[in-house]
Amino acid sequence: MMKFRFRRQGNDPQREKIKQDLFAFNKTVEHGFPNQPSALAYDPKLQLMAIGTKSGAIKVYGAPGVEFTGLHRETATVTQLYFLHGQGRILSLLDDNTLHLWEIGQKEHCSQLEEVRGFTLPGRPGIESTNATRVTVLLPKLSCDLLVVGTEGGGVHFLELPSFTLQNKSLFQDEIMQSSVPEEYKCGKSLGPVESLQEHPQLPDKILIGYSRGLVVLWDLQNRHADNVFLGKQQLESLVWVRTADSFVSSHSDGGYMVWSVSSSTPCTHEPVTATIPYGPFPCKAVNKILWRTTESGAPLVLFSGGMPRASYGDRHCLTILQDSQHVTLDFTSRVIDFFTIHCTDRDKEYDDPSALVVLLEEELVVIDLQTAGWPTIPAPYLAPLHSSAITCSYHISNVPVKLWERVVSAGLQQCPLQTHTNWPIRGGKNLAPDPKQHELLLTGHEDGTVRFWDASGVSLRPLYRLSTANIFQTECDHNDSLTQAGEEEWPPFRKVGCFDPYSDDPRLGIQKICLCKYSGKLVVAGTAGQVVVLYLCDDKSDHMIDVATVDLLQDREGFTWKGHDRLPPKSGSVLFAPGFQAVVLVQCMPPAAVTAVTLHAEWNLIAFGTSHGFGLFDYHRRSPVLARCTLHPNDSLAMEGPLSRVKSLKKSLRQSFRRIRKSRVSGKKRVLVSSPSSKVQEANAQLAEQDAEVTPVQRRIEPRSADDSLSGVVRCLCFADTFLRDGTHHGPTMWAGTNSGCVYAYALDVPSQEKFSEQGVEALLGKEIQLMHRAPVVSIAVLDGRGNPLPEPYEVSRDLAKAPDMQGSHSVLIASEEQFKVFMLPKVSAKTKFKLTAHEGCRVRKVALVNFSSVASEDYSENGLVCLTNLGDIHIFSIPALRPQMRYDCIRKEDISGIASCVFTKTGQGFYLISPSEYERFSLSARVITEPLCQVEVDRPHDPSELSICTTLPPQANGTHKTPSGENKSAGDAEGVFDEMQSPLSSPALDSPNSSADITLDTTGELTMEDVKDFLVTVDEAENNLRNMTEEDGRPPGILIN
C-alpha cells in the first residue's frame, strides 16, 4: 500500500518542486578536533595551518571561519605535510609512500581544496628493495620550483614542481661517501636514512642533508658538491638552521642537541660548538624536533619536544621552551605530533622574533603566546577538543534569545579570564559567510559530569561556558588537586597545558540527559547515578545549600535488589557557586540507575525523569515529588536482579565483541605495499581469508517481541503538553511517558495557577495507558495542535514568541516507536494515521525530531516534518500529521553505531553526529538553513602549465573528510583520468570511512542506548549461537542453492 502512496506523490510535479525548495541533504562542516592527527604544516605567508590525519584527511585552517578539507582517495595516514610557500599548494606524503599535490582553488568566489596530482617515487631497478625508496623527508624549496626528497635508503631525489617530474640528478650515499667523508668515519656502515633536509636561509642553492647516523652535509645543488661535512656521531633526529646561517642545530636520539658552526674554511667539522643534554645526565629519550629562534632581545629561544629523562618522566609528553634562564616544560596529556612557531620570515629582518608557538597534540591544539611574559596559552577559536572528557550526550538549542546568550557568554568569560591579549595568530583567508542570523547553542554532556556550552551558530564551534556538576557531590577524588600542586615545585619545571583529560574521576558523574529552557534559563541535567540536577542561571556568585530529594521509582515493588552502583552522596552544607548555572535542587532516583529520559516545563515548574525502573515527576518550585511510577514488567525477572549488573556484563561483552571486530578488521585491512610482487600473493590470501569468513553463515531468529522482554521498563521518552486528555472541551497540562515495551502513559496534571504555586501542589492522575501492539520501544512522543503543528515550547506563547497553538481543532499525539509512527486523535486515542517503517523498509527508528523546514523559494512558506534516523544510518523525512514519506538520504554508515547514537537534530533542519570521539559532522536537511564554510584565500601562484583542464570538474569535497561509500566511489571514478601518473594498483576501491579503522571504545560512544547495546549483543549472541548450531547440525555445507 505504501508503494502506491510513494508513487502517487512522485508523479505530482508541483509537489516535487515544493520538496526541492524545502529539502536538501548536505554534509556541511566538521566541528571539533580532527581524530588522530598525524601531520602539521604552516604557511607563514598565507597564514594558513594544515593538519593531516591518519584517515587521509587534510584540514586547512586560517582565520576563524576559514577552513577547507580535502580527503585522499586512499585511507592512508598523512605522514607529512608541506605548504609551497605562498602558493596555496600543499604537498602531502602518505604512509603508502605516495606524494600528493593539493591546491586551494577558486570556485564561485569561494575557495576549495582539491587534489591535483599524485606521484610515487620509482624504485631503483635491481639492487634496492622497495624500502629504499620509501620517502622519509621532504623539502619544498622556498622558490617552489623544486622538491627535495629524502629516502629510507639514504638517497636524495629532486622533483620539479608542480609537475612532479623526476630530475635525473639524484644524490646517492655512495657519492657522499666517496667524495667527502673521511675514511675513519666510513667504517663500512651506511649513513642510514635521510632524517632531515633544510634549505639554507640565505643561499637557496644550498641545502643541509642530515643522515640518521649523524652525518650532516651542506650540499650545493648547483655544483653538486658537498661544501661542508659535519661528522656527527649521535643518531640524528632533526636539524634546524640558525637564522644567521652561520650555524645550525641538530637534535639527537640521546636526548641532546648540538650547535654546529658553519664556515667555508673548514670543509670537515668533527665536533660541534656545544653539545647539551638538557635533562641529563641519566639516559633521556630522543629530542624529536628542535627549533632555534633568534630574538631581538638577546638570547635565542630554543624549543624542542621530547628529551625527558627516560626513567622518571619517560612517559610524559613534553615540549621544552628555553630562553636564557627561563625554562618551562610544557606537560601535555597526549602525544606531541608536531609544532611550529609563528615568527618573522621577512628576509630583510634580522631576527626571528617568534610571536607564538603552535603545538599539535594527538588530542588537541595548544597555542602559546611567546611575546607575553610567562608564555600563557591563547584560546583557540576552533579545533575545540570536544572530547576533553568523553562525550556522553548532546543537546541542541536553536534560536537562543540574546539575553540568555549574553548571560552564558559573560559567565564563560568570568570562568576563564583571558590571560593574554594577543589575538589568534593564524589569520589567513577571508571568511565570506554572513553572520549567523540567530544564536545556536550545542550542549555536550561529558563523562566527568561537566556540561559544555558551545557556540554552534557558525562554522567554528567555539567554547562558551563549562558547567561542572561534580562539585555538588562528595567524590573520592576531591583531594587530588593538592597532590598535583606539590609536584609542580620539582625539576623539571613542568607546567600542565591543555584540557584533554580522558580520565573520569567517577563514572557515576557522567551526564546522560540535558534539558534547557532557553527563556527562563533553567537547566536540568541528569546523570548515570540517577541524579537529576535543576540549575538556575544566575549572574552573581552564590553560596547556598542544595535541596535534595529522593524519589523511589520502584514503589515498593517487592523482590528487587539493586546490584548496581550506589547513588552519589551529595555534599552536606552550603556549596559555593560561581556565576553561571547554579544547582538548586537535586533529585535522586532510587534505585540509582542511569537516567534515560528527562524533560522540563519551566512554566509549570515541573521536571520529569525516567530510568530503567520507572519515571517520576517533581515540582522543583515547591521541592516536592508529585508522582513516581514503576514501569518494570512483573515478569521481568532480569530487571528484578538489577539492571546495572546486567549492563555491566553487556558492556563487557560488547567490548569483547568490538575487540573481536577490530581484530578482524585489522587483519582484513592490512595495507599491502604497492607494486611489490609479494603483495599480490598477500592480497590473494587476504581475499581467500575473507571468503572463508563469509562461509560461516549468520543466522537471525525470527520471533516477535514478547511482553516480558528484559529491560522492557526502560523509560525512553517523556514530554509535557497542554492538550486534551480528559475530554474534547477542556485542555490542560499533561505528561506523557513512553517505555521500551511499547507502553505509553498519559497523565493529566493539575497545575495551580502562577499565584498559587506556593500553597497548592501539583497533582497527577493517570489518564490513559496505551499499549502498542507491536511492543516496540517508544522513541518519541509529541502532541500536535488542531492544525497538525507541534505545540510551542513553554513561555513561547506567553512571551509572544510563537503563534498560539490551535486549541479549537482536535489535537493529536504522535507516537514514534522503533518500528512505526502513529498519530492518534485526542482525547480518545483513536488511531488516525500510521506509517510502518520497519514492516516496509526493514529499518528501525533510532532518532526522531519534529523539524520546521522553510522553503528557499519563499520566505514565509514552511512545513513541519518528522525527521528520523534509522539503524541503517539513513534519514527519512515524513510530513505530519499525514506521515507521508517525503525524502530519504543516506547519512551515516550503518556500522557506525556510535555515530548513529550520537545524532541530534536541530529545530530548523540541521543535525550533528560524532564521526570520531572528538568531531561532530554537521549536516543539513533543509534547503534553506545551511551552515557551511564560505571563505576565500587570495593566492598568487604561477599558472601550472601541466595543469589538466579536467581538474576543474573534480567534484567538491563537500562531504568532508569522511566519505560515504557510494558517493566516493563515484567521484573516484570521475577523477580517475586525472591521476595519470598514478599506478593502477593505487586506485583502490572506496574504502570505509576512517571510523572503521579507528578504535571504537565504548566510553566515547556518546549516548549509546541500551537498545544499541542490546541490538548488537543479540546479533553477536545469535551469531555465536548460530555457529554452535551449525556445528551441531552435522556440518551441512551452507550453501549455494541450485535447483
Binding site: I702, L766, E769, Q771, H840, N1043
Partner: protein, 426 residues
C-alpha cells in the same frame, strides 16, 4: 446466522439484545441472560457459570447445543461468541465434569440421537451422520495457511503464519545465501535470504509449509532482494503478528498442482510439473499481486493498540459506570456484526479508572479511595480474528499484573458479578 439473529429480536420484547441462557449441570438448571451483541469473554462467562452453579473448584467442560442439535464445546472466546450469536432462541449450556466428559459425543449430533426428549430440535435436522471420531477440538483456530495460490507462480508459495492463534514460538531462523536465477544472459548468482533452521516444536515447523533452505522472496508483500539479513529480520519481526512470507521451497515436489493443467493426477505427477515450471525468472510481484492479498485487511487486523482509560475527572463510582457505558456505546468503533469475521474495530478500548498511580501529595487519599472502585468495560468484538485474542491476552496480562500488586486486591468479590452481558463490573 444473521437470520436467526433477526428473528430472535422480535421474540424477545424485554431485552432486545439479551440471549436467554439455560445452563444445566447434572440435574440442576440455572437461567440467566447474556448480551447477544457483546457476549464478553469466555473466561468471564466461565466464571459466571462457576459462580451460578456454585461449582467453583471443579474441573468442568462447558458445551452447548447448536442449531443442528450438536453438542459443541465452549472453551474459548470464539466458540463462546459463536454459541451466543447463534443461540435460537435460547442458549442451552451443558456442564460436564471433566472426568465424565464423553468426548465422542462432541461434534456429532449425539444430542439429537440420545436426548431427543431433552433437547427439542427440529425434525429435519434429525438425520444420521457418519460417525467419525475426531479429536477434541480444544481450540479451533488457524495457525497457518497457503494463500494466493492462484496468482503466484507454481514454484513459489505464500505462507501466512498466525502467530496469535498459537502459544508456540514462530520458531525459525533465516540466513544469507546465494541463489541462482535464470536470466536472458544465462545463470546468475544473486544473494538471497534463506530459512536456515526450524525450532523443533515451533509454529513454522509444525505447519509443514516452510522448510530449511527455502528461499525467502517476500515478506508481507515486500521483496527482500537488495535487503540485508538484518533488515529482513526486522521486517519479519515487525510483521510477526501476521507474517506472510513468500518462499521458493527447496523441495519443489509438493507444489500445488493447478487443476487446469493436470487433471486427475495423483500427488506424484506434480513432481514433473513442479520441476517443469522452474526455473522462473526472478519473481517480481506486480502491483496487482500486492494489492491482491488485501493489505488493508491485514493492516487493520494486526495492530490494535490497547488504550486503558482512566476516567480522571469522575471520582464517584456510580457516575463512572454510567459514563463508561456511554463511552462504550458511542465508542469510535462500533462492534462489528457477527457476520463479518474479517473486519474488526481498530482498537480495543477498555475504560477503567484503575490503578491511578498514588499521588505523593496530599491528594493521595482521594485518588486511593476511588482507585479501588474500578470498572472495567470490555468492549468485545464479536467475531474473533486472530489478533483480538492477542489483545484480550494482553488485557488479561494487565489484569493479572494488577492482581500482583499487593495494594490492589483485584480478586473477584463474591456476589459482585452482575451479568448484564455488556459491562462486567468488577
Amino acid at each position: 446466522m444473521n437470520r436467526s439473529f433477526n428473528k430472535s429480536q422480535p421474540l424477545r420484547h424485554l431485552e432486545l439484545d439479551a440471549v436467554e441462557v439455560k445452563s444445566k449441570y447434572g440435574a440442576e438448571f440455572r437461567r440467566f441472560s447474556v448480551n447477544r451483541a457483546k457476549p464478553g469473554k469466555f473466561e468471564e462467562f466461565f466464571k459466571l457459570i462457576m459462580h451460578i452453579h456454585s461449582i467453583a473448584n471443579m474441573e468442568v467442560m462447558i458445551g452447548y447445543a447448536d442449531v443442528h442439535g450438536d453438542l459443541l464445546p465452549i472453551n474459548n472466546d470464539e466458540n463462546f461468541s459463536k454459541a451466543v450469536s447463534t443461540a435460537h432462541p435460547l442458549l442451552r449450556i451443558f456442564i460436564q465434569r471433566q472426568e465424565e466428559v464423553d468426548y465422542s459425543s462432541f461434534g456429532s449430533n449425539t444430542l439429537t440421537r440420545k436426548k431427543k426428549a431433552v433437547v427439542t430440535l427440529r425434525n429435519d435436522l434429525n438425520r444420521k451422520r457418519p460417525h467419525i471420531r475426531i479429536g477434541m477440538p480444544q481450540d479451533f483456530r488457524p495457525v497457518s495457511s497457503i494463500i494466493d495460490v492462484d496468482i503466484l507462480p507454481e514454484s513459489h508459495r505464500r505462507v501466512r503464519l498466525y502467530r496469535h492463534g498459537s502459544d508456540k514460538p514462530l520458531g525459525f531462523y533465516i540466513r544469507d545465501g546465494t541463489s541462482v536465477r535464470v536470466t536472458p544472459q544465462g545463470l546468475e548468482k544473486v544473494p538471497g535470504i534463506f530459512i536456515s533452521r526450524m525450532v523443533p516444536g515451533g509454529l513454522a515447523e509444525s505447519t509443514g509449509l516452510l522448510a530449511v533452505n527455502d528461499e525467502v522472496l517476500e515478506v508481507n508483500g515486500i521483496e527482500v532482494s537488495g535487503k540485508t539479513l538484518d533488515q529482513v529480520t526486522d521486517m519479519m519481526i515487525a510483521n510477526s503478528h501476521n507474517l506472510i512470507v513468500t518462499v521458493k521451497p527447496v523441495n519443489q515436489r509438493n507444489n500445488v498442482v493447478r487443476s487446469s493443467r493436470i487433471s486427475g493426477s495423483s500427488g506424484q505427477s506434480s513432481d514433473s510439473s513442479g520441476s517443469g515450471s522452474f526455473p522462473v525468472i526472478t519473481h517480481s510481484p506486480s502491483n496487482a499481486t500486492v494489492a491482491g492479498y488485501g493489505h488493508d485487511d491485514l493492516d487493520s487486523d494486526e495492530d490494535s493498540d490497547i488504550v486503558i482509560e482512566s476516567s480522571v475527572s469522575r471520582p464517584s463510582r456510580r457516575s463512572n459506570v454510567s459514563q463508561t457505558q456511554q463511552t462504550s456505546s458511542n465508542a469510535p468503533s462500533p462492534p462489528s456484526p457477527p457476520t463479518r469475521p474479517q473486519s474488526r474495530p481498530p482498537s480495543v478500548i477498555s475504560t477503567a479508572s484503575f490503578h491511578s498511580q498514588p499521588s505523593l501529595n496530599g491528594t493521595a487519599h482521594n485518588s486511593l479511595s476511588y482507585r479501588l472502585h474500578r470498572d472495567l468495560n470490555i468492549q468485545q468484538p464479536l467475531y474473533n480474528s486472530s489478533s483480538t485474542r492477542e489483545s484480550n491476552g494482553s488485557l488479561h496480562k494487565i489484569l493479572s499484573s494488577l492482581r500482583t500488586d499487593p495494594r490492589n486486591s483485584l480478586a473477584l468479590p463474591p456476589g459482585g458479578v452482575e451479568e448484564d452481558g455488556m459491562v462486567i463490573t468488577l
